[in-house]
C-alpha cells in the first residue's frame, strides 16, 4: 500500500492548500514528488555514462475562472511548498472556497518484486555486457553495438482542496539495444527495447534476446532495396505497430485537443469511425506495463477505458480540468512528466483489441503492398489529422508474399481516412514500450496490437 504521508505531512498540505486559496480560486492542489534513478550504457564494449539522479520538489496549482495558476519549486521543505503556494496565489483576486479536510486514500502501486535500487550496480553493468556479447555475436557485419539500462523511481503525493490525499510509488526499468551493421558502403541500424512498470525481475528471462533482435534487424536491412513510393495496401505488424493507432487516433481523443476544436474526432463521439472489426482501449491498469500507474498525476485511479467499440467512437480521454469543462468524469488520464509540469490528458497503454484474422492470411490477400514490421516513431497534427511514421523495418509484399526488405520508408496519411481503411485485425497481440511527447512533456506509454491491415496508405520512399 502507498499513501501520501511519506512525502508531505497532512498538516503541511492543509496549510499549503489554504495559502494557495487565500487570494481566491475554486480549487487548489499540491503535487509533491521525489524521483531518483540510475542510467548507464555500454558502447565500444565499455561501460560508460553511469549517471545517478535524485530530485524532489512540488507544484501547486489553483483554478480560478477559466485560468490555472501554477508554481513549482525544487525542494519539499514546508517553506518551499508555501513559497510555491504564495507564488500560485499571487495573481488571484477572486472569491475563494474553503479547502475541505483531507481524507487519506490508500492506493496499491504496481507490485515490484526486486527493487532495482537494491540490486548492485555491478549486476546492471553485467547485464549490459551480456547484451553486448549477444548483439556482437550475431555476425561479423555487426560493427557497432550499444545498449542502455535505466531505472527510475517516482514517489508522488497529491493533496487537493476537495479533500483528496493520496499517493503512488512507481518503479520503472527499461533496457535498449542498438546495433549498426556494415557491408561495403551500406550502413544500417537496428534497435529494440524491453521495459515495464516492474523491478529487476523483468530481466529474469533472457533479456539479452533484444540484443539479437536489434542486430538481426540491422543485418536484414543490409539486403534492403529502396522503399516504394505511392499509395498501396499496408500490413502493420503487432507490438510497436500500435504506435500507428497511438498517433492516428489516440492523440485526437485527448480531451484538450477535442475541446479546442483541434481534433478531427471532436464531433465524432458516438459515430462509426472505423469498421466494426475494430475495438480499442486505453488501460492504465495493465499489470506491469510501461504506461501503467495506480493513480494518474491528479490522484484519480487509473482505469480501462474503451475508446472504440466495434468501430464506434465511445469515449475521449480526460484529465480533471477537461472533465470539468466537458461535464464528464476524469478517465484517469491526467499525467505530467514531473512536479515541474501541469497535468494534461495523456494516453497510458493504448491498444487495438485482437481480432479474428490470421496474420498470414492478411498478407496473402494483398497482391502488391507494404509490410511495416517496426517503426522508429511517428507524429500527428491532431487538428488536421495528418500523420507520419518512420518505418525502421519494412518489406515489400508481392503476390501475397513478403519479399525483399526496404530501407527508409515513411507512411503518411490522414487519421480518419486511414482508420476507416483498416480492413483486417489479426488474432495475435503484443505490447511495446514507447516515450510519447506532447506539449513539451515526455510520458512513458504502452502501445499494442496484433497485425492490422490498412486498405490503402501512402508509402514514401525514394523509388519514384
Amino acid at each position: 500500500m502507498s499513501d501520501a504521508g511519506g512525502l508531505i505531512e497532512p498538516a503541511v498540505a492543509e496549510r499549503v492548500l489554504a495559502r494557495a486559496l487565500a487570494g481566491g480560486g475554486e480549487f487548489a492542489e499540491v503535487f509533491a514528488e521525489r524521483r531518483g534513478g540510475l542510467t548507464m550504457a555500454i558502447d565500444e564494449t565499455r561501460i560508460e555514462s553511469v549517471q545517478s539522479g535524485a530530485e524532489e520538489g512540488a507544484g501547486v496549482r489553483v483554478f480560478s475562472g477559466g485560468t490555472t495558476y501554477f508554481a513549482h519549486v525544487d525542494g519539499l521543505d514546508p517553506a518551499d511548498l508555501e513559497r510555491a503556494a504564495a507564488e500560485a496565489a499571487s495573481a488571484l483576486r477572486a472569491d475563494s472556497v474553503e479547502p475541505r479536510p483531507l481524507q487519506a486514500v490508500a492506493t496499491t502501486p504496481q507490485p515490484i518484486e526486486q527493487p532495482p535500487g537494491d540490486v548492485p550496480a555491478e549486476r546492471k553493468a553485467a547485464l549490459l555486457r551480456e547484451l553486448d556479447e549477444r548483439g556482437r555475436g550475431v555476425g561479423a557485419e555487426i560493427v557497432q553495438f550499444m545498449a542502455s539500462y535505466a531505472e527510475a523511481r517516482r514517489e508522488v503525493a497529491v493533496a487537493d482542496s476537495d479533500g483528496l490525499f493520496t499517493g503512488d510509488d512507481r518503479t520503472r526499468v527499461r533496457i535498449g539495444a542498438q546495433s549498426v551493421a556494415r557491408r561495403g558502403d551500406a550502413v544500417e541500424t537496428g534497435a529494440e527495447t524491453l521495459g515495464g512498470c516492474r523491478g529487476f525481475e523483468l530481466f529474469d528471462s533472457d533479456p539479452a534476446a533484444i540484443a539479437e533482435q536489434a542486430a538481426g534487424k540491422a543485418l536484414t536491412l543490409l539486403d534492403a532495396g529502396p522503399a516504394p513510393a505511392g499509395a498501396m495496401p499496408v500490413v502493420v505488424a503487432g507490438g510497436f505497430g500500435g504506435v500507428l493507432f497511438h498517433e492516428m487516433t489516440g492523440h485526437g481523443l485527448e480531451a484538450d485537443h477535442v475541446q479546442k476544436g483541434a481534433s478531427v474526432y471532436a464531433d465524432k463521439l458516438g459515430e462509426q469511425v472505423a469498421q466494426p472489426l475494430l475495438t480499442a482501449f486505453d488501460d492504465g491498469r495493465l499489470p506491469g506495463e510501461w504506461g501503467s500507474d495506480a493513480i494518474d498525476d491528479e490522484g484519480t485511479p487509473t482505469r480501462k477505458t474503451p475508446v472504440l467499440e466495434e468501430g464506434r467512437l465511445v469515449s475521449f480521454l480526460y484529465d480533471r480540468l477537461t472533465a470539468r469543462r466537458g461535464g464528464a468524469a476524469s478517465t484517469g488520464n491526467g499525467r505530467r512528466e514531473s512536479f515541474r509540469h501541469l497535468p494534461i490528458p495523456r494516453m497510458t497503454n493504448t491498444y487495438i483489441a485482437p481480432g479474428d484474422a490470421e496474420p498470414e492470411a492478411m498478407i496473402a490477400e494483398v497482391k502488391n503492398g507494404f509490410y511495416a514490421v517496426s517503426f522508429a516513431g511517428g507524429q500527428v497534427d491532431p487538428a488536421t489529422g495528418d500523420f507520419v511514421f518512420g518505418v525502421s523495418e519494412g518489406y515489400l509484399i508481392e503476390d501475397g508474399k513478403v519479399t525483399r526488405p526496404c530501407r527508409g520508408a515513411t507512411l503518411v496519411g490522414n487519421c480518419l481516412q486511414a482508420l476507416a481503411a483498416i480492413d483486417a485485425v489479426g488474432n495475435d497481440f503484443e505490447m511495446k514500450t514507447g516515450m510519447c511527447g506532447k506539449g513539451g512533456q515526455k510520458a512513458p506509454v504502452g502501445t499494442g496490437q496484433g497485425h492490422v491491415r490498412i486498405g490503402a496508405m501512402t508509402v514514401g520512399g525514394t523509388e519514384v
Binding site: E48, S52, V180, R340, D381, F387
Partner: protein, 448 residues
C-alpha cells in the same frame, strides 16, 4: 553560485575522486498559455540544482540533485564518485582544461524580462492570439498562444582550475492557428524568439500563424516524382540541425556519422557555407564558455563545399588529437556534457525568395516537415519525412500540397544545394539555427 560549484568539487575529491567538475544552475521562468481571449494558465517556475562529474583515474561518473544543503551536496558528490567506480576505464577520459580566455562582454541578458509583470506578458500572449484572428476571416480559432521566458545563472568549477559564471535570458512566443478549410481544419505555426519580451513582435507572430494556416486550405497530394525542392527557413533549419548533430566528433569517432572520414571531402554545394558560432549575440546557445567551462568560439564547418572540421568537446578532442572547439553541450545540471553544436549559422546568399522560386521553375516548396526524429537515420544520413507546402509552377508559388514525403540522404541533399536565399532567420527547432531558405536541385517527392 561559483562557491556552491566549488564546494561540490571539494566534496567529490573528499569522496575519493581524483578529479571533479561541478555545474550549478539557478533559473526562474514564466509561461503563459492563452486561448479564446482568456489566459488558460500562468506558470511561475524556480529551478536549482547541481551536477557533479567525478573521475577516478580513467573512469568517469556523474550524479545530480536538487538538495543543495551541505549534506545534500556531499551525497551528490559521493554518488558521482560511486558511479565512476562502476564505469570501465577509458584512456581518453579526464577533466577539461580551460584552453584559452572566455569572452567577457557577451550581451546575453535583457532587463525587460524582470521589468515586465505577469499581467503584461499575459497581454502579449493574448495579443499574439488576437493578431492571428484579426489577420484573416478564415481563421476559426487558435489552439494555443504561448509566451515563455527564463533567466538563468550558471556556474562551472573544476579541480583543474576552471571557474566561470554567467547569466543569460531568453523568451519566445508561438501559436498554432486553425483555419477553416474546404474539408477540415488546417494549422499554421507562428513563432518569435528574443532575449526579453520587449524584443518580440506579437502581431508578426500571430500573422505568420494565420498565413501558414490559410495557405494550406484546399491542399492535396502532389504526384510522386523527383524535382527541385525549396526548403523555407524553418524547414531548412531542421535539416541543418540534423547535419550539426552528425558533425559532432562523438558519433564520427565511433563510426556513426555519414560524415565520418570525410574531412576535406566535397560534401555540399558551394552555395552552402556553415559555421558553428557559440558567440553570436542573437543565438540562443551562446555563452562565454561551453558546458564544461571551455571558451566558446566560431568554427567553420563547411566552406567552399568542403568539410573543414568536426565539433569537439574535451573528451573527443583528446581522443581525436584535436583541440576542443568549445562544443560541450549540456541540457542543464541533469545531463552530463557531450558534444553538441551551439548556434549553427548558414551564410545568406544573393537571391531573394522570388528569385529562388524562378530558378526552381517546376517543383515543390516545403514549408513544414513532420517526423524528422523518426524518419531520419543519424548513422547513415538516410531520411524520409512527412511534408507539406506549395507547388511551384512557372517559377511561382501555386496550389497547396500535403500528405507527401521528401526523401534523400544528408550528404546527397547538401551536395544538391543550388542556392541559399538572402534572408536568414533564427529557428529554435532541434537546436539553435540561423538559415535562409535553401534550394535543393533535386529530391524525391512521394505523394499519390
Amino acid at each position: 553560485m561559483i562557491d556552491l560549484a566549488q564546494r561540490a568539487v571539494e566534496a567529490a575529491l573528499a569522496a575519493g575522486a581524483s578529479d571533479a567538475e561541478a555545474y550549478a544552475s539557478e533559473e526562474t521562468g514564466r509561461e503563459v498559455r492563452a486561448h479564446g481571449g482568456e489566459v488558460e494558465s500562468l506558470t511561475a517556475a524556480t529551478k536549482r540544482g547541481v551536477g557533479v562529474r567525478a573521475w577516478t583515474g580513467a573512469r568517469v561518473g556523474y550524479a545530480f540533485g536538487t538538495d543543495l544543503a551541505e549534506e545534500g551536496i556531499a551525497a551528490i558528490a559521493a554518488r558521482a564518485a560511486e558511479a565512476a567506480r562502476v564505469a570501465d576505464e577509458d584512456e581518453f577520459a579526464g577533466p577539461p582544461s580551460a584552453n584559452g580566455e572566455a569572452s567577457q562582454d557577451l550581451p546575453l541578458s535583457d532587463p525587460s524580462i524582470a521589468e515586465w509583470s505577469p499581467a503584461r506578458v499575459a497581454d502579449l500572449a493574448l495579443a499574439v492570439e488576437r493578431a492571428a484572428l484579426d489577420a484573416d476571416r478564415r481563421i476559426a480559432g487558435v489552439e494555443q498562444a504561448v509566451y515563455a521566458d527564463a533567466a538563468e545563472r550558471v556556474a562551472i568549477a573544476s579541480s583543474t582550475g576552471i571557474a566561470g559564471e554567467f547569466e543569460s535570458s531568453s523568451c519566445y512566443a508561438y501559436l498554432q492557428a486553425l483555419a477553416e478549410g474546404e474539408d477540415g481544419r488546417e494549422t499554421g505555426l507562428g513563432f518569435g524568439l528574443a532575449r526579453g519580451p520587449a524584443g518580440l513582435d506579437p502581431v508578426a507572430i500571430g500573422r505568420e500563424g494565420a498565413e501558414r494556416a490559410t495557405a494550406m486550405i484546399g491542399a492535396r497530394k502532389p504526384e510522386s516524382r523527383s524535382c527541385p525542392v525549396v526548403l523555407d527557413a524553418t524547414v531548412a533549419a531542421s535539416f541543418v540541425a540534423l547535419v550539426g548533430g552528425a558533425l559532432g566528433a562523438g558519433g564520427v569517432q565511433r563510426g556513426r556519422s555519414p560524415f565520418a572520414d570525410r574531412i576535406g571531402d566535397e560534401v555540399a554545394g558551394e552555395a552552402l557555407v556553415l559555421h558553428d558560432d557559440g558567440l553570436e549575440p542573437d543565438g540562443f546557445a551562446s555563452s562565454p564558455v561551453d558546458g564544461e567551462g571551455v571558451p566558446r568560439r566560431r568554427t567553420a564547418l563547411i566552406e567552399g563545399g568542403r568539410l573543414r572540421t568536426y565539433l569537439y568537446d574535451s573528451y573527443t578532442a583528446r581522443r581525436g588529437g584535436a583541440a576542443s572547439t568549445g562544443n560541450a553541450g549540456r541540457g542543464g545540471y541533469r545531463s552530463q556534457p557531450s558534444v553538441a553544436a551551439s548556434n549553427l549559422v548558414v551564410a545568406p546568399g544573393e537571391p531573394s525568395f522570388d528569385e529562388m522560386l524562378r530558378e526552381t521553375g517546376e517543383g515543390v516548396c516545403v514549408t513544414d516537415v513532420a517526423g524528422l526524429h523518426s524518419g531520419a537515420n543519424p548513422v547513415s544520413g538516410v531520411f524520409s519525412v512527412g511534408a507539406s507546402g506549395r507547388a511551384v509552377r512557372g517559377g511561382e508559388l501555386a496550389e497547396p500540397l500535403r500528405e507527401f514525403t521528401i526523401a534523400s540522404d544528408l550528404v546527397s541533399m547538401l551536395r544538391a544545394v543550388r542556392a541559399a536565399g538572402a534572408a536568414p532567420r533564427w529557428v529554435p527547432f532541434g537546436g539553435s539555427v540561423s538559415t535562409p531558405p535553401l534550394l535543393i536541385g533535386e529530391m524525391a517527392v512521394s505523394g499519390s
